[in-house]
């Protein structure tokens, strides 16, 4: 359901096109914003709108879309006791600005998004794999990640036999 409350009007007034969409789903506000304006918006949300807590940073893969990744920031404001979800559409290979300067918690969360999806975050000081071993090939949470093939390759390489899968 599209969202058109005072908050969104104010944002659209201030940032115009940077706010692409705004809707409300199951009573939770969601904004889709322009990737290039993300840094400015992040600072704005933290400083002016008091969303000082980045609860979660993750991504969703929609392979059939042109810009396949949905990078999602779940924000929370202590003062207002409200949540807000920001999204950005990113293409495969497009790098997303890092919000580590705004919310330092994003450090490991962005590393995990990189590890699982292959999304590069520009401005992140140490972007490398966090959960998977450093030499892992491929990005598991992508929808086209063939886990059977990975398994077969690993077994062939490390055990020297053919996987029975």
């Amino acid at each position: 359901m599209p969202l058109e409350n005072e908050f969104v009007t104010r944002l659209k007034g201030k940032f115009g096109d940077a706010i692409r969409e705004a809707w409300i789903d199951r009573k939770q506000s969601i904004l889709v914003v322009d990737l290039k304006e993300l840094q400015t918006l992040a600072h704005y949300f933290r400083d002016e709108e008091k969303y000082d807590f980045l609860t979660d940073l993750t991504a969703v893969d929609w392979p059939k879309r042109e810009k396949r990744f949905d990078v999602v920031w779940n924000l929370y404001s202590f003062a207002r006791n409200e949540r807000l979800r920001l999204k950005v559409h990113a293409a495969d290979g497009e790098s997303v600005p890092s919000v580590i300067g705004v919310w330092p918690v994003a450090n490991w969360m962005e590393r995990e998004a990189y590890d699982m999806f292959g999304i590069r975050f520009e401005g992140h000081p140490d972007l490398r794999r966090i959960l998977l071993p450093d030499e892992w090939q491929g990005f598991p949470l992508r929808k086209d990640y063939d886990i059977l093939k990975q398994d077969q390759d690993w077994v062939r390489e490390n055990l020297g036999i053919e996987s029975g899968q």
């Binding site: 979660d56 969703v60 999602v72 006791n81």
Partner: protein, 380 residues
């Protein structure tokens, strides 16, 4: 390891003496890292200059598995993340899916869920207390804590058949009715537990050695805590009075009166005090809830095959370790399109570097213990 993030601890320098810094590795197998956690410490003599946590040894790809299971089939998997507090994980997931479906569990189910979740919080904090005390050298409290936890696990076993990975709740409510004698046993446990908690308090709270080992160790200021996304008792011990049970009540928490303990300084001692007090408050919630469990159905009418309308939801609960969130995206089919678990231990562990810098090597073990991490949740 890239060096871009080293901040020199003021007053500590090795370059003046020409002494080298050594890198100490607390490997994945270590009695005090509470699981397979690897901590690389850069030491200047006794002081920690920089630390790095290397995780992923317990990564099982839970989020990927979720995309290939139906909503109900995925429910047992969430127990295995924070395996010390499985009931809380289950509560978060079931409520998130219920929100996605637009359904709500009936009041009786919500009250029983609250009771079991609070008992699980006590059990989780007992494990934390026992192991934390053991790391610092107090050899006895761990046995007392596990003795109490045994009573809780017996209640769980009688209720749903399992002690640890309980899968106690179902999407839409509960599967099992409470057994005969449930109220009496929970009440008896809560009544006994008050003396027991006083016992642990006597052993540790005013003990000079305990205070000496935990006061001033691993300080995290409120600002740093919020910036680093820390939640749960760690955040409350830094002075921020925030608890999702009060801020955005779920299950039946809005029916009961309880306090949120906070502490001012954000050191290890304060986190200890906060968790001890939380155990007392959980006990009070259980006593209030047990007095009056409303009669009624225990399962909402949502049908056997769950196909939530397309969309997404983020729902979080106050797990014993912090804010446990589930971000579930549905594409209208019986299997979730994406399940993202916001793990409190993972995010709290990120604050470890902040807490450990400038502290002594012997304090590192205390700091790891005080964050209360479960590697199953950190790695998923």
């Amino acid at each position: 390891m890239t060096d871009t993030h080293i901040e020199r601890v003021p007053g500590v320098s090795s370059t003046v003496l020409g002494a080298d810094e050594i890198i100490l590795n607390m490997g994945p197998q270590h009695p005090s890292t509470h699981g397979v956690l690897r901590v690389k410490l850069k030491l200047d003599g006794e002081r920690v200059v920089e630390s790095e946590c290397i995780i992923g040894y317990l990564h099982r790809g839970v989020e990927k598995i979720a995309e290939h299971r139906s909503y109900q089939q995925f429910a047992p998997y969430v127990d295995r993340m924070d395996y010390v507090a499985a009931v809380s994980n289950g509560l978060g997931y079931c409520e998130a899916v219920e929100k996605l479906l637009g359904a709500e569990a009936p009041i009786r189910a919500r009250v029983v869920r609250t009771i079991l979740t609070e008992l699980q919080r006590i059990a989780s904090h007992l494990v934390w207390l026992g192991t934390h005390a053991l790391d610092i050298g107090a050899l006895t409290p761990v046995f007392y804590c596990f003795r109490e936890r045994e009573e809780i696990l017996k209640i769980f076993e009688k209720y749903c058949g399992a002690r640890l990975t309980t899968h106690a709740f179902r999407i839409g409510g509960l599967q099992y009715e409470t057994y005969d004698g449930f109220e009496e046993e929970v009440k008896r446990f809560c009544v006994d537990f008050e003396h027991k908690i006083d016992e642990y308090s006597t052993l540790l709270t005013e003990n000079r050695i305990w205070v000496g080992r935990t006061k001033g160790v691993g300080i995290l200021s409120a600002e740093d805590a919020i910036a680093l996304g820390v939640s749960g008792p760690v955040l409350r011990a830094s002075g921020v009075a925030w608890d999702i049970r009060k801020a955005m009540p779920y299950a039946a928490y809005d029916l009961y009166k309880f306090e949120i303990p906070t502490a001012p300084s954000g050191d290890t001692y304060d986190r200890y005090i906060v968790r001890m007090e939380e155990m007392r408050q959980s006990r009070l919630i259980c006593l209030q809830a047990i007095e009056n469990i409303p009669a009624g159905p225990i399962m909402a009418r949502i049908g056997k095959v769950l196909k939530p309308p397309p969309g997404e939801v983020y729902h979080s609960i106050e797990a014993p370790k912090g804010e446990l969130g589930y971000y579930i995206v549905s594409d209208g089919s019986t299997q979730p399109y994406r399940v993202r678990v916001r793990p409190p231990s993972f995010i709290n562990l990120q604050a470890f570097d902040r807490m450990a810098r400038g502290s002594l090597v012997a304090d590192v073990v205390a700091i790891i213990g005080t964050i209360d991490i479960v590697l199953g949740e950190v790695d998923r």
